[in-house]
């Protein structure tokens, strides 16, 4: 969970950075996918890097979900009789919503790929003009709302995920624990803000 989650976490950071180019206008934003495809072109061929990343991410996603399902099944086996009266004592909201949050993110991912990668569900759907697709999307309030819900869910997932991964990989100790929790929260908030900046700019007219 920690390793595959970490790989996808790095992708999310890169994705967010790419998205923010929308603030610099259509040329900068539309140039970004072209640049991505040109990475290591000499060795990998045009678009080779993108395909390697896609395979790696798909593999991470499958392994991440497999591990999550195994953990959920083990948890169910470990407590066949439930408590009649149960109250969560301490665990954070983020920790308690990891599983359902993951399902919501996975569903959003399917929609997101059909919308902006394949263009099927996009009002414009011009793959040569991602800037047009994105701005057309977010002018609809329901697209922006869906996006915002998914991003906040992702934020909660990352808030517990980053900390939990560091704990699983043994990076945390008594002195560092509080700092690492703070780092996880800070990173989650920063990622949420970075992603939500795009629909916010479109809706407020900062990006036309």
């Amino acid at each position: 969970m920690a390793v595959t989650g970490g790989a996808m976490f790095l992708f999310v950071i890169g994705h967010m950075a790419g998205n923010l180019k929308v603030l610099f206008g259509p040329e900068a934003f539309n140039e970004h996918p072209k640049w991505l495809r040109s990475i290591g072109e000499g060795l990998l061929g045009h678009g080779g890097f993108v395909w390697i990343a896609r395979v790696g991410l798909l593999l991470s996603l499958v392994l991440h979900m497999t591990a999550a399902i195994q953990l959920a099944r083990r948890a169910r086996t470990a407590r066949p009789a439930r408590y009649q009266h149960r109250r969560p004592v301490q665990g954070s909201y983020a920790a308690r919503t990891m599983r359902w949050g993951g399902v919501i993110i996975a569903l959003f991912l399917v929609y997101h790929l059909m919308d902006l990668t394949a263009g099927w569900l996009n009002p414009v759907g011009d793959l040569e003009n991602p800037y047009g697709n994105v701005t057309a999307d977010f002018r609809h309030w329901y697209v922006s709302l869906t996006y915002a819900v998914a991003i906040v869910t992702l934020g909660f997932h990352i808030r517990h995920g980053v900390w939990s991964a560091l704990q699983t990989l043994g990076a945390s100790n008594g002195a560092r624990q509080r700092v690492l929790r703070g780092v996880a929260l800070g990173v989650a908030v920063a990622i949420c803000a970075g992603f939500l900046a795009v629909p916010f700019s479109v809706l407020t007219g900062l990006v036309k």
Binding site: A75, T77, Y83, R87, Q90, G91, Q167, G170, G174
Partner: protein, 252 residues
């Protein structure tokens, strides 16, 4: 104080259980939780009913025998307090108190509130020992131990094996217990020869006993009557990771 106790009654391991209400009058705020159950049991015996079975031994918070879910919280509402050290002054007149046994596949209910925690003994058998010369006791301080290590090891050694971590865990995982035992020996020089095999073997035994997997949900440490910190789990993970990457747990 008058309280209504809603207690899990189960006649045997394979019987169906249910919650039964008992009205208890004149509860003194100075009573411990177990003393209140004693009073109720005396009344039940006089009435010719079966008393409520619950585990207890030292009643001073160091043996790890007592433990029950009190209103959905392991060992009740007080932090770092075993059920026997929980006093009735933390409840109010007229409260309804739900009392259930630990619930985990690895801890089958024997009767009422008594569960079999033998699974913890299996984990201890897998690595809770050190290679030590037998014979007369060695001189104290013959082996220098850094004070911070000694403090951390002692903190982990405070684990009484009551099972509250498993009971509180949403995954039914026994990682806090396993981590406490591995930390206790793994931080001391005497525990080094088996440090990596201990971590790997105890975790493998833990998993084989149908405890759930740890997702760092963080419910266990606040429920622990001895305040074993969550960082112990990171320490166990670190040893397991190092062992599996380097093969340090296998003979060279």
């Amino acid at each position: 104080m008058r309280l209504t106790l809603r207690v899990w009654r189960q006649a045997g391991p394979d019987e169906d259980g249910r919650l039964v209400d008992y009205a208890v009058d004149d509860v003194s705020p100075d009573m411990s939780f177990l003393e209140m159950l004693d009073v109720l049991n005396e009344r039940l015996v006089l009435d010719g009913e079966e008393p409520i079975a619950f585990d207890h031994d030292c009643r001073e918070g160091i043996c790890g025998m007592c433990g029950m879910m009190i209103n959905g919280v392991a060992h009740g509402p007080e932090r770092a307090t075993t059920t026997c050290q929980l006093h009735m002054r933390h409840f109010s007149d007229g409260d309804v108190v739900v009392i259930e046994p630990w619930r985990a596949r690895a801890f089958p209910v024997i009767r009422d509130l008594v569960v079999d925690r033998g699974a913890f003994d299996r984990i201890i058998e897998a690595g809770g020992y050190i290679t030590a010369p037998t014979g007369s006791a060695p001189d104290a301080h013959a082996i220098p131990i850094p004070k911070p290590d000694a403090d951390k090891a002692f903190e982990a050694a405070a684990c009484i094996g009551c099972g509250a971590c498993v009971a509180a865990c949403p995954n039914g995982s026994g990682m806090l217990f396993t981590a406490a035992k591995a930390t206790h020996l793994g931080l001391l020089p005497q525990g080094q020869p088996e440090r990596h095999s201990r971590a790997v073997d105890m975790l493998a035994t833990h998993d084989a006993l149908d405890f759930g997997g740890c997702t760092n949900a963080g419910e266990c440490a606040p429920a622990c009557p001895k305040g074993i910190p969550l960082e112990s789990i990171a320490r166990l993970n670190r040893d397991v990771l190092r062992a599996t990457v380097s093969g340090a747990h296998k003979p060279r």
